[in-house]
Symmetry: C2
Subunit: 271 residues, 2 copies
């Protein structure tokens, strides 16, 4: 829950719930709507003033203009009119958007990309997608822009999206943890554990980490070549690794400066 | 020379001059200014009404806001204030821009991308660069956007830009002609001659052409994945090859429809 005047934002309270899953996409979407309304009621009970509006963001292909979740491959839904469903049941105005682009909006308005005309916000978490800021606005490409995680950088491994060589297969936070576990037989909680292992010289961690950073560097170079951003803001779980990520990536980007985001994985909420 | 109301344009007369070259970039820029003013005077003599303004576009890194040619690697200049130099000597308002982005503006306003919110204009000539239309505007990325010709698609050959694997090294119109000549010892006037040789089954032409189309397909797929354009407009000399280019590229692009541009290589002038 966020409060503040335009251009400012203060987090008043925070709750986490796992995304509900049902048998099909429509049922999952309905369960998500229920869960959001339930959470909104709980947070509303903690607020000092009446809640004025809901802000909800989801992953996948999102049409912000129509307020529709067009497609989520992971969650299985298609063409769900979330904004209308939520507004009808909550009786409040609802701002509905895309999780990563909302993060980009937060970085542009309040964060590390403040004042930039051209920037890229790149959160690296379970998946990898980017918010593209061009001409001082977060660009949606009709809902399709920013799928940097599915650019082919030539490693040849198949991806769930149907293509091969996708950055996300080796460089997402989830991929780093999965590949380290597969290589060593040791389970880790996440990519940050692998980064810690790199710092103490674990050779398996170094191999997995270097492959991830090399993939990200290639994707960033492609992005910089195409878009010429002034600044690239890294976010998500992998950005918590700090210099292990920013130093090699800074060398790979041409025009941009690389800044880790202080908002980290929370930028989507603020946006 | 173009005339017409806003949203329309009619070509009244057309003249071609080779770009003058001098010992260094500053002298080349001064010679270009002289040549443009000379050409404007010649064209002005043909016009029925007084000339109201000049429109001038150049390649390289261009800052449209300041009216400056920031850098042209091929022509050697740096930070040339073309708009001011031309306006002072011509005594007319001067619109100054980037050759490919001006072409993108023409396609957006009058051509095959008319009405699109998100589109890519990709002229393939001596070099390869793209105009990126996002949110209904041609985006400049501070002058750096659209360098799709220098994305690395993995063929490993060195490029004049200092990197390896650049699309432009195998897929520009100039590269196709050069590679065919190098392979066969037969000089050709340009890529269109190579396309003609493909149509009659020349196996060397097929190899060179397929490598070019494969490189372009990879670059277009990267571009589509990042930007999600509704439409990709092909232009430049290579687009004159028609279906030999559009059929394989159409299969490689995900969201976009591929349209050859009727304006062809002339879109930059209209813009």
């Amino acid at each position: 829950m966020v409060t503040g005047r335009p251009g400012e934002a203060t987090v008043v309270a925070e709750r986490r719930r796992p995304t509900p899953r049902a048998d099909d996409g429509d049922a999952t979407a309905a369960a998500v709507v229920d869960s959001v309304l339930d959470l909104a009621a709980e947070l509303g009970g903690l607020a000092e003033r009446p809640v004025e509006a809901l802000g909800v963001v989801v992953p996948g292909v999102v049409d912000e203009e129509r307020g529709v979740g067009v497609l989520s491959a992971n969650l299985g839904w298609r063409d769900v009119p979330f904004r209308r469903l939520l507004a009808e049941r909550a009786g409040l105005p609802v701002a509905f958007g895309h999780d990563v682009r909302a993060g980009g909006l937060a970085e542009l308005t309040l964060g590390a990309a403040r004042g930039s005309s051209d920037a890229v916000f790149l959160p690296i978490g379970t998946g990898i997608a980017a918010a593209l800021i061009m001409g001082g606005r977060v660009q949606s490409g009709g809902g399709y822009a920013g799928e940097i995680g599915h650019t082919d950088i030539g490693h040849g491994e198949p991806c769930g999206c149907g293509q091969r060589g996708c950055v996300e297969r080796v460089a997402s936070s989830a991929a780093v943890a999965r590949r380290y576990a597969a290589r060593t037989g040791r389970e880790v909680r996440g990519a940050v554990d692998v980064a810690e292992a790199v710092r103490v010289g674990d050779p398996d961690a170094v191999v997995v980490w270097d492959e991830a950073v090399d993939a990200l560097a290639r994707a960033l170079l492609l992005t910089s070549t195409l878009l010429g951003p002034e600044v690239v803001v890294l976010g998500g779980g992998l950005a918590l690794a700090g210099d292990l990520l920013t130093e090699p990536l800074g060398a790979a980007a041409r025009r941009p400066d690389l800044l880790p985001t202080p908002a980290g994985a929370a930028a989507g909420r603020t946006g």
